[in-house]
């Protein structure tokens, strides 16, 4: 075999003085880094720095270091670029990767700060006063029409009022990750947590496994270009349906789940033969225009008994006009996925170079919908990437109704962002279908960690609202007056609708 030019990225170091020679590292590693010959022998080139072995080594004697080989200084040709060229010269293939865009583009969230009340209006103590996060996902009427109830009071006029909205206890939901890309135990964890939290999980495009039916009132079922796992019965089960047009990590790109991952369960859920590749075309082959989308939205509403139907798109340059079309086509919510959004597998060139930041997309879409007087007709769900409750608060202040979190949920389940999901060998048992790995996640344990995470963020949102002197999240939503920018250029501030700090 040809000698590769690509040197290992990491160095696995074992302090053999401390090592118990127990072999746990060998067993824990999903990538086959370790051989065992009286003691563990690491093969650096296989290491992904997922830290599974480090976490579980009883002697705490493993360290993973960067392989810091010196190259001659070159600001233009980074080591990453050299390796990419060498790999492609070896294989002739597209370089695959996973998780979100890691490149050093400006992170706008980190340039936005929130306001707080001092003297003239009081802050509110969230530990003593109610601090309301409840949010309704879906289309709202322009106004509420009322009729007399005949007893001096009022009641909703016939057919008036808000219909088909989903009540969320907090404006945080789980983002779509398909069964197939993640394990069934991950889906179970997400579904159980969504139910406990009063929020929603999202099946992604891989269909709804029957083990999740008990949680169906807390599940969004995705309808993607592959149309996996869909029939009228399943459509009727979910709380809401979501047409997936695109994904922040790979706008305009379809998906490919190799046949080896289509085991009996995945095959039954996706409703495709076992062992065949599951291919999601780049576009939906029945959607080539906004009119086509409208037809699909109404077809799904019709088939599902008029459940809310959302449309997920990647944040791209023209996102505001696209979102406006989607709302006019009848969507109950628009899901915007920013260019930092995660993926189970994507060409690196696409992930790292296509799309726009979610902050910009929220601001542009929210403003466009307001300018057109249709902001109430659909909720905005923002994702990609919401890393903390602070990001969530800023996204909401820019105009999002709800944020969706994906990467953060996987981190809660053990993910260490090694960006190797596409290999299907995740040592943490998350993005794999290998039974010896997937059983590492106990759904009960997973649900508890996810519940903790969302509770923690919700408490933090309440702290933020209290500091802002408001006691309901709707008073923060779209209230860009409560944001200021530090170190953003004038044009970006204008697009965000945010004043620079000091103004």
């Amino acid at each position: 075999m040809q000698q590769t030019f690509v040197q290992p990225e990491f160095r696995v170091k074992i302090d053999y003085d401390k090592c118990h020679k127990c072999g746990r590292c060998v067993q824990q590693c999903g990538w086959g880094v370790y051989d065992f010959a009286e003691r563990p022998i690491p093969h650096d080139e296989k290491c992904r720095a997922c830290h599974r072995c480090v976490t579980f080594c009883p002697a705490r004697c493993i360290t993973i270091e960067k392989n810091t080989l010196a190259f001659r200084e070159n600001d233009n040709w980074s080591v990453g670029l050299l390796k990419a060229v060498w790999k492609q010269a070896e294989t002739g293939g597209v370089l695959l990767t996973s998780m979100g865009n890691p490149k050093p583009y400006e992170r706008i969230f980190d340039h936005l700060v929130l306001d707080a009340c001092q003297v003239t209006n009081p802050s509110i103590d969230p530990l003593r006063e109610p601090m309301e996060l409840r949010t309704y996902l879906g289309r709202k009427p322009d106004s509420v029409q009322v009729a007399s109830d005949g007893a001096g009071g009022f009641t909703l006029a016939e057919g008036a009022g808000m219909a088909n909205n989903i009540e969320l206890a907090t404006p945080i939901i789980f983002s779509p990750m398909s069964y197939g890309s993640v394990s069934l135990n991950v889906h179970r964890s997400l579904a159980m947590a969504a139910e406990r939290l009063g929020i929603l999980m999202n099946t992604g495009e891989g269909g709804l496994h029957e083990d999740l039916y008990p949680y169906q009132d807390h599940i969004i079922l995705q309808v993607a270009s592959g149309r996996f796992g869909l029939n009228p019965e399943v459509l009727g089960r979910a709380a809401a349906l979501e047409i997936k047009i695109g994904q922040g990590a790979k706008p305009g790109i379809g998906g490919h789940l190799p046949g080896e991952k289509i085991d009996r369960e995945v095959s039954a859920t996706r409703m495709i033969p076992q062992g065949t590749d599951a291919i999601s075309p780049a576009p939906h082959h029945d959607i080539y225009s906004i009119e086509d989308l409208r037809q699909l939205i109404y077809a799904i509403k019709e088939a599902s008994g008029y459940k809310p139907v959302g449309v997920k798109i990647a944040a791209v340059h023209n996102v505001a006009a696209i979102a406006s079309g989607i709302v006019r086509a009848g969507a109950d919510y628009v899901y915007l996925d920013g260019f930092r959004g995660g993926t189970g597998a994507a060409p690196a060139v696409i992930r790292d170079h296509i799309g726009i930041p979610i902050e910009i997309a929220i601001a542009a879409v929210d403003q466009r919908l307001r300018d057109e007087g249709i902001r109430n007709q659909a909720s905005i769900v923002a994702a990609g990437s919401i890393r903390s409750s602070a990001d969530a608060a800023k996204a909401i202040a820019l105009g999002a109704d709800v944020v969706a979190i994906g990467t953060a949920t996987l981190l809660a389940l053990g993910c260490h962002l090694c960006q190797s999901c596409h290999t299907g060998s995740c040592s943490w048992g998350i993005t794999t279908q290998k039974p010896e790995l997937t059983r590492r996640i106990d759904p009960e344990w997973g649900a508890e960690r996810l519940t903790n995470l969302v509770h923690a963020w919700s408490h933090e949102l309440q702290e933020i609202l209290g500091a802002l002197g408001v006691n309901a999240v709707e008073s923060l939503r779209g209230s860009r007056e409560r944001l200021r920018a530090i170190g953003l250029d004038e044009q970006t501030c204008k697009i965000l609708g945010v004043k620079p700090a000091g103004m």
């Binding site: 509420v144 808000m162 902001r375």
Partner: protein, 409 residues
């Protein structure tokens, strides 16, 4: 601080703009009193109610609105005007005479009062729209009046319409309210409803037009508070075409009432529930039909919900409505004595005016106090059809918020 004419070249919108970059921070005091039987009370009552709340202001703004005060001229629109100089007066009068038959034009009766200095020229007019103009333009009298107000406030430099309703008037200026009240000789007027305000601006010089109440037609609004949700409230209103050009909370509250009551035709009780919404925990405990109504109301009008400390009194020819924020962060006390309902920032005001009230209570957070004058029209403004742009423009005199209309100026 005295009202400094030299500081400004004009009297109208520029002055508003001058204040607008800053919200009006600080405390304020307010009072409202209404005799539901329609019996008239001297304006002295309102002055007394404010005099005991003097400490709630800093002498930079006081004002009153009285209803039922012009019984002999109740069919005519009463315009209370402020002029920077005689040129402004002439220009505004030319506009008025082209648009209306001027039945009465007279200087506002005032008396010298220590502490009130640098008053603008204050005039009042009783006007009837030319019937042929209404017909020609297919406008109701109310639409027509709002358009004229809009044009004067935005186009006539140095002129400002302080109030424009029938059988009512606003009296406001820079000074403590009891000084302003005596300056305008309010004890000589008798009204069934009075609202009053004491202002404590912390960052602006104060000017006569900027004092409360805010008015349009027969609506008046006085407000004590600071709306922490101002940003989204203003963006919500913009979606319906209102332009929040003043940057004041009172402006936002005025437009929200206009949107909910006049354009969305919500009953006043429900409009108040939308603006100071009950907690979800309360809504969840309501009977099913009410819960459905309140859930929709809150979800639909969430962006309009006024969040943060406030107490507000809305006055109009049919009575008044007082409302506190949803967790009662600003004071508001209410009382009833026979047919008279009173609200004030401080109970002292009530005790000063009512010798032995039947009932004094602190209205619960978000629970409106509503007083309706027997036999008066309710709801209000049935004949006003204009859009939000015109309303914004009329209230604030900011030209950019609306297209000019064909009313002579």
């Amino acid at each position: 601080m005295a009202y400094d004419l030299e500081r400004y070249e004009s009297f109208g919108v520029e002055r508003y703009r001058d204040e607008s970059p800053f919200k009006i921070h600080g405390g304020c005091g307010l009072a409202g009193i209404c005799d539901e039987s329609g019996t008239l009370m001297s304006g002295e009552v309102a002055i007394q109610a404010m005099a005991v709340q003097r400490d709630r202001g800093n002498g930079l703004g006081g004002g009153f609105a009285g209803y039922g005060i012009y019984p002999e001229l109740s069919e005519l629109f009463a315009f209370h005007m402020m002029y920077h100089d005689t040129a402004a007066k002439e220009a505004a009068e030319a506009a008025l005479s082209e648009s209306f038959t001027i039945e009465v034009a007279e200087p506002m009766p005032t008396r010298p009062v220590k502490g009130i200095v640098d008053a603008p020229l204050l005039w009042r007019y009783f006007l009837a729209p030319h019937p042929h103009l209404l017909e020609e333009r297919e406008l109701s009298a109310e639409d027509y009046v709002v358009q004229v107000v809009m044009n004067i406030n935005s186009r006539v430099d140095g002129a400002f319409v302080a109030s424009s309703g029938k059988n009512m008037g606003a009296f406001k200026g820079v000074g403590f309210p009891e000084e302003i009240g005596h300056y305008f000789r309010l004890e000589e007027y008798a009204g069934h409803t009075w609202v009053a305000h004491n202002r404590f601006p912390t960052n602006t010089p104060g000017w006569w037009g900027g004092a409360h109440p805010f008015t349009l037609l027969d609506w008046s609004i006085v407000h004590n508070g600071e709306i922490s949700s101002y940003g989204i409230n203003a963006r919500y209103l913009e979606q319906f075409g209102y332009t929040c050009s003043l940057g004041t909370d009172t402006e936002v509250a005025a437009y929200l009432f206009d949107l909910l009551l006049r354009r969305h035709k919500l009953p006043i009780e429900l409009a108040c529930k939308a603006l100071a919404a009950p907690l979800w925990s309360e809504i969840d405990r309501m009977p099913a039909a009410e819960r459905a109504l309140m859930t929709s109301l809150r979800a639909v009008y969430g962006p309009g919900m006024l969040n943060g400390p406030f107490a507000i009194v809305l006055g109009f020819n049919g009575g008044m409505v007082a409302l506190n924020d949803r967790i009662k962060l600003r004071p508001l006390v209410a009382a009833r004595s026979g047919t008279t309902v009173m609200v004030a920032s401080e109970e002292a005001a009530i005790r000063e005016v009512m010798s032995s009230p039947d009932h004094v209570w602190a209205p619960k957070a978000g629970e409106p106090v509503i007083a309706r004058v027997e036999g008066m029209e309710w709801p209000i403004h049935g004949e006003l059809h204009l859009g939000p742009a015109e309303i914004s423009c009329a209230v604030t005199g900011t030209e950019h918020s609306c297209e000019p209309v064909e009313v002579a100026v």
